[in-house]
Structures are given as structure tokens and as C-alpha cells.
């Protein structure tokens, strides 16, 4: 190609000043890692198929002064889209979205160590008639394995330039941009789109062609990866594998409680000290009350759970980067299937431990509508990280910190029990749904088990930082405004002259709480809890913050202290346990409801979710409270 001549031409005459570039390829080939390296974004990267489920756009400036808009897409084995995430990819590549043209250049991202399937995809992509660059990613691994690829021959054979990249180390990025730009400048390469859905015979032919190309230009690795096989021998062992999975989950939930105790306590003391300091140095009045009761006791009571959140995510990120998620799905497949869940439901449900929203989004990898809907409906039952503040608070207030059997710790055990309750209820609800409403065939389920990769410490830290930031941002954007509201409602109107009860009893919040309290009396909730539950529908942690504020305002004379201690004085054990049971089920998260609406495109399903989860929550709390009271814990 007469590159120099072309790039020497004046830019004004160049075909496109700005261009759109789409990243396509098999799942888990490193498209998102490449996208992040190109655009400086921080989209989620992890070692399993199906991480990206929606399109993401970012910008990159080229040396010749263009601005490329790069689109990251969900991975796929074929343009013959079956699940909603694959539809996104197909529509983007074919330019089927309303008001959108096909991308100007396709970048096919391939895992250099696993070329067979992507070669077939490339043959499909070529029919789309767009200029294409092949990015041979994970080239570091290919080199480590001694894989020999005849780059020139391969490029000639498939008819498009090849760039080798190491996305996670940002290697080969300039080359890639240069090649894309060269294609744009060459212009006029666009052919007609002749892509049609291939039938079985055509897929076979394409495979044969791919096999031929592979044989001619790629030599088998000299040092193939034996690590994955050895590790799988243990982790996928029918007995040992399951035992390890259970142990892992157990250690994870114990650790959430125990590892972060010291750091959490330190932060609680810190906030208490700040509260005392503010109370001592500002004149008593509305502003001081707002700062100490609303901001410090409210928002602060949630922020102290940052260490717990970070411990949980530390585990999740390690497992995701190592490549364990697909193995866990493999081990659990029969159990999930027994409950009527699709095999691909596992990873969305596991992601829901972090937060139900990405979990619900991740159900896009499920092709069957009913399977997908069932998974969406049970995903919020998985214990999300927003429940951690609630659980931890109540556990530390009401569960004695004893060790059990020498090694286990009772609060950690209760924490594990709550997680288990969430998992079992998700399985139970899906089982009943499938039995009562949606009997029917089981969809096929094929899943790639990726090669294990040792997590990169820098990446782990970066991901942790992002999670921590999200948590703090939530405290600032959701919890803080809610606390202003709660503080306001709890402070106004003030007590009438000569009132004997605490002022909060006369406030709006007090009135609302007292009004609704009878409905929640059978489950042991007092009016302060009622006040906390209502804003708690915005987000689960808000209830903790609201309790902080309500009790802080209510005990005007008491010095600010840890919320757990306050609750010990005001609640019976039965009430505390009922509150935990409530939170296993309660649908207290507006964003989840919103995302269910968006993903199902109807208000029916969020409404069903709201009703069934609230019903379960009330029932569970009722049973727990009444049983606990009857056992003398009232």
C-alpha cells in the first residue's frame, strides 16, 4: 500500500475527518481491555465470556488529527444473534439501529492463542463489506507459549492488516490506531453488505476454510498451557471442586465480617469523634443539628461500611480475573437446572452479590425470554453489597461476638446464613415459578471455560478503587439528599411549647411513623424503623443512615455514639432478627426497579417484583419475630 503517498495527501481531501470504529470478536478475547487502552475508559474487564452486554462508546485522537469514536461490543461467535447481547453486536456491525450507519472500520479482536473460532467469524465479518483490521490480542501469552504465527501470510490470506496487541499492557495500541487510520485514508474499500445467516452447511464450509488457513499459517505452541489443565483437575473435581466452591463462599462471607472489623471500628470512632468535635465547637442550633444528626450520624453511618464492601469486592474481583466464574457455573449447573434456572443464569446471579443492577443487565446473555425473566425476577434476592451495611449493623448490635467450634466466628456465621438464605430463596422462587407458570423446554447451554490467568495486582487495585468510589459516590448522591429529607422531616415541625415527649415525636417523620406503625407492629418494627424503611426504598443503605439520623435527633441529650449501641438499647433481639429477615427479601432499591422496567420494557414486571418481594419480606419478618418472641427473645 502506498501509505506515505496517501497520508501525505491533504487532510481536507481525506474521505473522513472522523470515523466510527467497532470492536468485534469472540467473547473474552480482550475487546474491552483494548477499548480501555484505546480510549482511557474504565469499563469492566474480567476473565469470563459475557462481561460486556451493552455497547459503549469512547473517543481516541489519532496522530493525523482525527477523532475516532470507538465502540466496544459484546462478544459473539457469530453474527447470527440469539441473545439480547448478541443482538446489540449484530445491529451495531450491520448498522441496523435507527439513525445509524455501519461502522467505518471493524477491528476484529482475537485471542491469539485461540484462533479457530475467530477465523470463522472473520469470514462472516468480511461479508459485511467494511474495511477491517485484525488485532491479535494476548500476544504476550502467545509468545510465552511459543506459538508461531506467520503474520504476513495470515494477513494476505484473510485480506486485512494484522496488528499484534497486548491490551492489558497497552502494547500495540499506536500500531492499531495507525492501521485503522490508514484504512480510512485509503477510503473506497467499502464493499456491499452480502452477509446472510449461514446454514449448517455454510458454517461447516467456513470451518473447513478456517482450519486450512490455520494449518498453513499457525504452528502449534511449543509450550502449551498446562497450568489450566492441572488446576481444573482440582477445581472441577466432582467432590473436591464442590467442596472448594462452598469453602470459598464461606470464607468470603466470613471475611466480609471479620477482616474489616478493625478498619470499620476505626472509622466509626473517627466519625463519632468528628461529631463530638462539631457539637462542641458550633453553637447549638439548626446547622449543628443538621451536621451532626443528618450528615455525620446519617451519611457517616453508611460510609463506615466501606471496608466490608472492599473485602467483598476483593474476593469477587480475584475470582473473576482468575477465571473461576465459569468453573463455578459448571459446578452449580445441575443444581441451578434443578431449580429451573438456565445455565447462563449463574454468572448474572453471582454478579448480583455485588449489586443486582449489573446482575440484571448481565441476564442479556440468556437467549430464552422466560429464562431471562425468571433470572431477572430472582436476582435481587441475592445478597447485594448494599445489604452489607444493614446486616453488619444489626449483627454487631445483636449477635454476640463468640467463636464457634474454635475457628468460626458467630457473627460471620450469621452473615453466611443470610447469604445462604438469599441464595436458597432465589432458587426456591425460580423453582416455584417454573413449576407453576412456565413449564417448558430447557435451553441448550454451552459455555467456554477460559484459561486461568493470574490476576494482575495493579488491575485488582484499580478495580477495587473503582468499586470504592462507586460506594462513596452513592453515599454522596443518593444517601446524602435522602438524609437531608429525613433530617428535615424529623426536625419539623418542632415540639409545641410545654411538650414532654422528645421533639421528634411531633415532627412529620414522627407522625408518619406513628401512623404506619400498627401495620408493622406484628413484625416487631417500631415507629423509628418505619420512618427508616420509607426512604430505604431509595436504596437499602439509606435505612441505616435514616436510623442514624432518627435516633440521633430523638436522643438530643445523649452524646453521639455508635449506632449499634443505640439500637441495642432500643430494640429487642426479636426485633433485630425480624429486621434482618425483612432485608433478605425487601425490594428496597429504586434503581433495581428502574432497571427491571428498562430491561423488560414494561411496568408489569417491576410491579410483580415489588409485590412478591414485599410479601415475602413481611412474611419472613412475621415468622422470625413471632418465633423469636415466643422463645423469649422479645
Amino acid at each position: 500500500m502506498s501509505d506515505a503517498a496517501l497520508s501525505g495527501a491533504s487532510l481536507a481531501s481525506a474521505p473522513l475527518a472522523n470515523a466510527r470504529v467497532a470492536l468485534v470478536g469472540n467473547p473474552n478475547s480482550g475487546k474491552t481491555a483494548l477499548f480501555n487502552a484505546l480510549t482511557g475508559s474504565r469499563q469492566k474487564v474480567a476473565n469470563y465470556a459475557g462481561v460486556t452486554v451493552e455497547r459503549k462508546e469512547g473517543q481516541v485522537a489519532t496522530p493525523h488529527g482525527r477523532s475516532l469514536s470507538v465502540i466496544d461490543l459484546p462478544g459473539t461467535y457469530s453474527l447470527r444473534a440469539r441473545s439480547p447481547d448478541e443482538v446489540v453486536t449484530r445491529d451495531a456491525v450491520l448498522g441496523r439501529l435507527a439513525g445509524e450507519t455501519p461502522p467505518d472500520v471493524l477491528v476484529c479482536v482475537a485471542d491469539a492463542t485461540n484462533l479457530r473460532l475467530v477465523l470463522r467469524l472473520i469470514l462472516e465479518l468480511k461479508a459485511v463489506g467494511r474495511p477491517m483490521v485484525l488485532a491479535l490480542n494476548m500476544y504476550d501469552i502467545a509468545q510465552r507459549q511459543g506459538l508461531r504465527i506467520d503474520l504476513d501470510g495470515l494477513a494476505r490470506e484473510i485480506g486485512c492488516p494484522i496488528v499484534t496487541t497486548v491490551a492489558t499492557r497497552k502494547r500495540g495500541i499506536e500500531d492499531l490506531v495507525a492501521q485503522v487510520e490508514a484504512l480510512i485514508e485509503a477510503g473506497g474499500l467499502n464493499g456491499d453488505n452480502t452477509w446472510r445467516e449461514p446454514d449448517a452447511g455454510q458454517i461447516r464450509d467456513a470451518h473447513r476454510e478456517a482450519q486450512r488457513i490455520l494449518k498453513a499459517h499457525v504452528r502449534a505452541p511449543e509450550r502449551p498451557d498446562t497450568f489450566t489443565g492441572k488446576v481444573d483437575g482440582v477445581l472441577l473435581h466432582p467432590v473436591a471442586g464442590l467442596a472448594i466452591l462452598l469453602t470459598l463462599l464461606f470464607v468470603m462471607f466470613q471475611a466480609v465480617f471479620t477482616w474489616s472489623k478493625a478498619a470499620g471500628d476505626l472509622m466509626t470512632e473517627g466519625f463519632t469523634a468528628v461529631g463530638v468535635f462539631v457539637a462542641a465547637h458550633l453553637p447549638p442550633g439548626m446547622l449543628t443539628s443538621f451536621l451532626t444528626d443528618g450528615v455525620i450520624s446519617g451519611v457517616g453511618s453508611v460510609i463506615v461500611f466501606l471496608p466490608q464492601i472492599l473485602v467483598l469486592f476483593f474476593f469477587i474481583i480475584l475470582l473473576e480475573d482468575f477465571g473461576y466464574m465459569a468453573r463455578a457455573a459448571f459446578l452449580m449447573d445441575r443444581i441451578m437446572g434443578g431449580a429451573g434456572l438456565h445455565g447462563r443464569a449463574f454468572i448474572p446471579l453471582l454478579s448480583s452479590f455485588a449489586c443486582a443492577i449489573p446482575g440484571i443487565m448481565a441476564t442479556r446473555v440468556i437467549d430464552n425470554k422466560r429464562d431471562r425473566l425468571t433470572t431477572i425476577m430472582v436476582a435481587p434476592l441475592m445478597t447485594c453489597s448494599a445489604r452489607i451495611p444493614v446486616y453488619t449493623l444489626i449483627i454487631s448490635a445483636f449477635i454476640p461476638n463468640r467463636s464457634v467450634l474454635g475457628v468460626l466466628n458467630l457473627p460471620g456465621l450469621v452473615m453466611f446464613g443470610l447469604y445462604a438464605a438469599g441464595i436458597l430463596s432465589a432458587l426456591g422462587v425460580s423453582f416455584i415459578t417454573r413449576r407453576l407458570f412456565w413449564r417448558g423446554a430447557v435451553e441448550p447451554f454451552l459455555m467456554e471455560l477460559p484459561a486461568y490467568k493470574l490476576p494482575d495486582p495493579v488491575n485488582v487495585l484499580r478495580s477495587l478503587y473503582i468499586r470504592g468510589k462507586i460506594f462513596i459516590t452513592r453515599a454522596g448522591t443518593i444517601i446524602f439528599p435522602m438524609m437531608i429529607l429525613v433530617w428535615f422531616l424529623s426536625s419539623f415541625p418542632g415540639a409545641p411549647a410545654g411538650a414532654t415527649d422528645p421533639a421528634i415525636n411531633y415532627s412529620f417523620a414522627g407522625q408518619i411513623g406513628h401512623f404506619l406503625a400498627p401495620a408493622l407492629a406484628p413484625i416487631g418494627f417500631n415507629w423509628q424503623m418505619t420512618v427508616a424503611l420509607i426512604p430505604g426504598f431509595a436504596a437499602r443503605e439509606v435505612a441505616v443512615a435514616a436510623l442514624g439520623t432518627v435516633y440521633a435527633i430523638g436522643n438530643a441529650d445523649a452524646s453521639p455514639g455508635a449506632l449499634a449501641t443505640t439500637l441495642q438499647h432500643h430494640w429487642s433481639i426479636a426485633t433485630g432478627l425480624a429486621f434482618l429477615a425483612w432485608y433478605v427479601f425487601a425490594p428496597q432499591c429504586a434503581s433495581t426497579i428502574g432497571v427491571v422496567k428498562r430491561e423488560t420494557n414494561s411496568w408489569l414486571w417491576p410491579a410483580v417484583m415489588l409485590v412478591y418481594m414485599t410479601g415475602l419480606a413481611y412474611l419472613a419478618a412475621l415468622i422470625v419475630y413471632q418465633v423469636a418472641k415466643a422463645s423469649g427473645l422479645g
Binding site: F330, D333, R334, A441, E448, A451
Partner: protein, 104 residues
């Protein structure tokens, strides 16, 4: 062992080809046929769709395959190595993949 009602049928196919759905860990061989014939209606998608999905995943005639692992409950699902890839799949979806096993 898993009962295999299809042995007679298998014998006719190729000398000793078996359905992948009855293979056990350690079995290896070459895929000789990927069909579209298992009981329709049972898979949630029709058999030719299942066949295309298998083909797209690389279950294609001529590919080398080895069964690596199986699940604890009813020996299901199975994990196979298919050329350079590792794939997990359920036995019921593997019925139409016929494998000519290497002599042991």
C-alpha cells in the same frame, strides 16, 4: 456406567462412533458427525438451531475432542477440550455429536 440405549445405532454410524453424551472423562477421539435429530421439542430450540450452535462453538467434523471432567450430580455437565478450547456443556445437548474414540 450410564445406560446407553443408542449403542445399536452407534454401531451402524461409523465403526465405533458414540454419542458425546455418553462419553466419560478420559475418552478422546475425533468428531465424525454433528446431526440435527435428537427429539425435537425437548431442547427449547429446534434441532437444526442446536446443530448450528454446536457447529459455531467448534463442534465440527474433524475436530479433536477429549472429555476432561464431569459434574458430581448425574455426571452432568461435562467439560471437554475441543482443539485449543475448553467447553462445558450438558450431556443432553451433546447427543447429536458423534465421536470416533481412539483405541485405548
Amino acid at each position: 456406567m450410564i445406560a446407553d440405549p443408542t449403542n445399536a445405532e452407534a454401531a451402524q454410524t461409523a465403526d465405533a462412533a458414540v454419542r458425546l453424551s455418553v462419553a466419560r472423562p478420559g475418552d478422546k477421539g475425533v468428531i465424525v458427525d454433528v446431526r440435527a435429530e435428537s427429539h425435537a421439542g425437548d431442547h427449547g430450540v429446534d434441532v437444526s438451531e442446536l446443530q448450528r450452535r454446536l457447529l459455531e462453538f467448534g463442534f465440527v467434523e474433524g475436530a479433536r475432542i477429549e472429555v476432561l471432567h464431569e459434574g458430581a450430580i448425574w455426571r452432568d455437565p461435562i467439560a471437554v477440550r475441543l482443539d485449543d478450547m475448553r467447553i462445558g456443556l450438558r450431556r443432553r445437548d451433546a447427543e447429536d455429536v458423534w465421536v470416533l474414540l481412539d483405541a485405548k
